[in-house]
Symmetry: C2
Subunit: 254 residues, 2 copies
DNA sequence: CCTTGCGGTCGACAATGTCGACCATCAGTC
DNA sequence: GACTGATGGTCGACATTGTCGACCGCAAGG
């Protein structure tokens, strides 16, 4: 495979840099962070700016991400076939289970949330579409790890970050857990990322049985678990939703 | 100002092209649409793909937008100062008015929705964050047209699209309306874009009085209007919310 | 079995993006 | 108020880099 286009890779790196840092970044900071000449960084930023991917604060001169990214991100969702077919099933699942529903796909080293149905009570909740969750400590992530070799590859050999005392941080433990998940066909994660939160996830596959994403429900330990284990009835609901979505995807082409 | 970076502009054009067309596009289609050599288009696509901005359907070989865009779009929202400060006020406004609340900023030739609070009843609604609304036929758009010279400039001299029989399609009419809006300090749009929908909007400005966005409420004509005019009490709510957000923004720096 | 379309590769060429010195401006400071 | 040290931004020479169009292999369709 021939090499990538240098200026484009650099532009992408700049966007990621701006996305990462909380605050706006100055030209010099950007150039220094990526080891570019100021002139070069400026040229890229100027172009990104006039394309709308980056905006410049009028008075400080510093740069931040631009509105066009939001628009394109929305377009991504519009085209996303998995999401489109899952919308109605996710709704049903939320209603049936009374819990929050997430739909996620593998993206880089994590799970990208592409759909989110609020828990059907009236508590205030923030939409998490577009945010990322870790692979090794969430139901969505562990499902993907268990079934998608690419996801397992992303884990590499690096140390796994620990979020709570129940987070699995040893690769061998994760692999054992994945074997279990494959055997029984679903994953759970009880207080492995957030205290008090438990979730149950299952795989979504396309017509050729390739893993393409995962659904999960997520809620308070008290409502999702019973006697220290996740409720079998909820597991059944999640698995049935996952099967329904997979079937729907499979039918997509005919 | 020196020229933009060619490859970057082209990459942006490809992304916009992919965002525009509903379906996935093949390499040749992309190359033809933008009048590029196939090799060139391929190089750009390849780079965009490995950066995650574009994905390729494994079996058809066609391209579509990538997940990274969703993630970056979300990051844009996270950094967005106007949105951050407006969140709580928008919530209050929705509760007080009982209607849907939108928060929009000028982007290219339209209004980009950066925040959306659902109407506080239980009807099913879809999140419109990231989508665009026309300038000349919505309350948000007309507010920006009235106060932001850049917005007025975007209108150019082109013919204005008509959505309903009440859409203003003559530039002179729009300008007259804008004068009125400036005079009284708020805008409305009753069935100018969607039949049965009325909205009321007001300007948000930063500490230096620059227009930075607009808030509006939007709902059924029957609940927003009375005797053929928008209800004064709703106008008051919207204007008060807009002032609150502006004040909040102004205080941001101190 | 040839044709026609597809996505993808290759290598020569020169247009293109890159680099680093340079400029203008502002804020702080002695 | 001139100095200092930041900043964002410009410029033009250079050669790296992206571009182009011919070419490849494959699959579908006549």
């Amino acid at each position: 495979m021939p090499g990538p286009i240098q200026s484009l890779s650099r532009a992408a790196a700049i966007l990621r840099l701006l996305a990462g840092g909380e605050r706006r970044l100055g030209l010099s900071e950007v150039a220094a962070s990526l080891d570019l000449a100021k002139g070069t960084a400026h040229g890229i930023l100027r172009t990104l700016q006039q394309e709308g991917f980056v905006e410049q604060d009028a008075e400080s001169g510093k740069y931040q991400l631009g509105a066009e990214l939001l628009r394109l991100g929305q377009s991504y969702l519009d085209v996303h076939e998995l999401r489109a077919r899952a919308l109605v099933w996710a709704d049903d699942l939320a209603r049936a289970s009374g819990e929050t529903v997430y739909l996620g796909v593998l993206h880089q080293r994590g799970v990208l949330i592409v759909h989110h149905v609020f828990r059907p009570d009236d508590t205030r909740q923030v939409l998490e579409v577009g945010s990322m969750q870790p692979l090794h400590s969430t139901a969505l992530g562990k499902v993907l790890l268990a079934y998608d070799p690419v996801a397992r590859g992303e884990l590499g050999d690096g140390p796994l970050e620990s979020y709570t005392t129940r987070t699995l941080t040893e690769l061998s433990d994760v692999d054992a857990e994945c074997a279990l998940i494959r055997e029984r066909g679903w994953a759970d994660a009880v207080e492995e990322t957030w205290e008090g939160v438990a979730s149950i996830g299952a795989l979504i596959q396309d017509r050729r049985r390739n893993p393409v994403g995962a659904v999960c429900i997520s809620g308070a330990v008290e409502t999702v678990c019973e006697d220290g284990f996740v409720k079998p009835s909820l597991v059944a609901s999640v698995r049935s939703a996952a099967r329904a979505i997979s079937r729907d995807l499979g039918a997509g082409r005919f």
